[in-house]
């Protein structure tokens, strides 16, 4: 087999795994958009906030310590204990559910029936507010996140591919774990939506608010539920991304990677978010591999958007959306 082809295969595999991350973030957007029509600009910051909270809890740091110390003249920063990863994740989930309540009760409850653009503006406000809270709560230093996920080259794949092609693929264990976790998460979400009472309520609200109300579904409850789920998805994305490149404010920029995925997959389609993420992941990796060297590299920054834009022109409804035919 020609050498270039073997390299391309490795690049494709790695692109797929990066794509899984994009899918995860896009999924958070889709959940909220489907149920409430809100395009949640804060999804990326939610991932950052979740990751920071997780690290903070794990390391036993006192939340808002700077604020507390400034007010009371104290010098406390740490509880002096370490919280096991699993417990810390559980506590962080609770924090994200609390955040969902806050978002619904304090903000969106009062904006019911407003124009989508107003709701979108509110999420921009929310994003910067949450960024501020995250900063105040846990400080702005870069943290390393370690919940015990395996990292580094997967030797089994390295060896197998070496035996096949005479060249060992470099696949990161963390990417493999992320892929498995994402797959389980998506399967879980689909089962939840399909087979539980709450999932049915969620689908009903996504379809028609008025009809949902008339069969006895509380919109408020469903909206808190989807924000909680989006918070959970953000936490998972935050863990994976944070483990890969550290917990810092740039983590919230992963939202920018989700945008082209949404353009590609459609804003209301869960399969669209997943397949869209994979296409973008592979597409940008292959493009960088093949064209990048010719034009001086760094095509990852823009290629996804160009791909999505092209797609948008020819299929505005996204990969899985139904074709919109204007009735006149």
């Amino acid at each position: 087999m020609p050498e270039q082809l073997i390299f391309a295969m490795e690049v494709t595999l790695n692109g797929l795994m990066t794509g899984v991350m994009y899918s995860l973030v896009a999924l958070g957007f889709v959940l909220i958009f489907k149920a409430s029509g809100i395009f949640n600009y804060a999804q990326g910051v939610m991932a950052l906030f979740a990751a920071m909270t997780l690290v903070g809890i794990q390391e036993g740091r006192v939340p808002f310590s700077h604020l507390i110390n400034a007010i009371f003249g104290t010098e406390i920063y740490d509880f002096g204990w370490d919280v096991p990863a699993l417990l810390a994740i559980l506590l962080t989930v609770l924090v994200m559910v609390g955040f969902a309540f806050f978002v619904q009760k304090v903000i969106f409850k009062h904006l019911v029936g407003q124009e989508p653009i107003i709701l979108f503006m509110a999420t921009i406000g929310l994003a910067y507010f949450l960024e501020g809270v995250a900063d105040l709560m846990w400080g702005s230093e870069i943290r390393t996140l370690d919940v015990g996920l395996p990292q580094g080259i997967n030797l089994a794949i390295d060896e197998t591919t070496f035996n096949w092609f005479g060249y060992g693929f470099f696949i990161d264990n963390l990417d493999i774990v992320a892929t498995i976790v994402a797959a389980v998460l998506v399967a879980g979400l689909v089962a939840f939506a399909q087979y539980t009472k709450q999932g049915r309520a969620m689908r009903a609200v996504a379809d028609d608010h008025q009809a949902a109300l008339s069969v006895g579904i509380s919109l408020n409850f469903v909206w808190i539920l989807v924000w909680s789920l989006a918070g959970f998805v953000a936490l998972v994305a935050g863990i994976m991304w944070g483990a890969k490149s550290g917990v810092q404010f740039s983590l919230s920029l992963i939202a920018l990677k989700a945008l082209p995925v949404l353009m590609l997959g459609g804003f209301t389609s869960i399969p669209g978010a997943i397949v869209g993420g994979l296409i973008i992941g592979v597409g940008e990796a292959l493009f960088e591999f093949s064209v990048g060297p010719l034009i001086g590299g760094a095509t990852e920054n823009w290629f996804a958007y160009v791909l999505a834009l092209l797609f948008l022109v020819f299929r505005p409804q996204g990969l899985f959306g139904e074709k919109i035919i204007e009735r006149v």
């Binding site: 999932g199 008339s214 579904i217």
Partner: protein, 272 residues
């Protein structure tokens, strides 16, 4: 609850009980528009109560007040002998009040069966943790809901379209699916906003038969809005007549038919 002293038996042998729902001095305004003006009336257990009136009279608004979609500025709603606090639509639905809409509100992305199953949602066990832990129990429950849904599907004779996405159905069948979704909730009170609008004669006859059967077989109390006077006279036990937000008549079909104010209101307005 059911005041037996006031029960009556109709000509066709159905028992009509005491007052189930009572609207007291309801006034509803939208800015300057007074949609409902100081209206009182009641709905009795087991009856078919019609609300009629020309376009824009405030009929749908009244149904929306009963089902919690609109909140009147003045007046009280009494249900089963207790004053009802201001309620959200989903809370009203959970009290056993189901409804259909004048311009149909279905889950367009779902099949007929899924639409109807969603009507069962308040009968489903409460927590998803329960469902995850007691898998067997959840399965049995699901079977029971399916059985109920199929029963209603048979009742309304829509077996042939069970798996069809509702978005693709013609108008008349959509109305029927919406009725099915309301019925499967096993409501005590069923509110129908123009269940026969836009239907041909044959479809209207079917729908009339279904409404009578629901009332007769399930004992469901029904309040319905309808424009077709012939249908109203055939179906209803008592009729409220509205015009420009005011109540201008209330009584048996024969009584309101002879009411001069009602006759004037209808003569003054072109009707379909």
């Amino acid at each position: 609850m059911n005041d037996m002293s006031t029960s009556t038996v109709t000509e066709d042998g159905r028992t009509i009980g005491g007052v189930m729902m009572e609207m007291r001095n309801i006034t509803l305004r939208f800015g300057g528009v007074v949609a409902i003006k100081d209206i009182s009336f009641d709905i009795r257990e087991g009856e078919i109560r019609a609300i009629i009136g020309p376009n824009g009279a405030g009929k749908s608004s009244m149904l929306n007040v009963i089902s919690g979609f609109y909140h009147p500025q003045e007046g009280e709603v009494w249900y089963h002998g207790a004053r009802r606090k201001a309620m959200k639509p989903y809370q009203v639905a959970r009290q056993g009040i189901a409804r259909t809409f004048q311009n149909i509100a279905l889950f367009d992305g779902m099949s007929v069966l899924d639409n109807i199953m969603t009507g069962r949602i308040n009968h489903m066990s409460s927590s998803f943790l329960d469902q995850a832990i007691w898998w067997g129990k959840a399965q049995r429950e699901e079977v029971e809901h399916r059985r109920k849904a199929e029963e209603i599907i048979d009742f309304l004779e829509i077996q042939a379209i069970r798996k069809t996405p509702v978005g693709r159905l013609p108008y008349g069948l959509k109305k029927r699916v919406e009725l099915a979704r309301a019925l499967v909730a096993e409501p005590k009170l069923l509110l129908l906003d123009e269940p026969m609008a836009g239907m041909n004669v044959e479809e209207k006859e079917d729908m009339s038969r279904f409404i009578l059967d629901v009332n007769d077989e399930f004992g469901t109390t029904i309040a319905l809005i309808e424009h077709d006077m012939g249908v109203v006279m055939d179906l209803s036990d008592r009729v409220v007549v509205m015009d420009y937000g005011k109540k201008i008549g209330d009584g048996s079909p024969d009584e309101v038919r002879q009411n001069q104010e009602v006759i004037d209101a209808y003569l003054g307005v072109a009707h379909d």
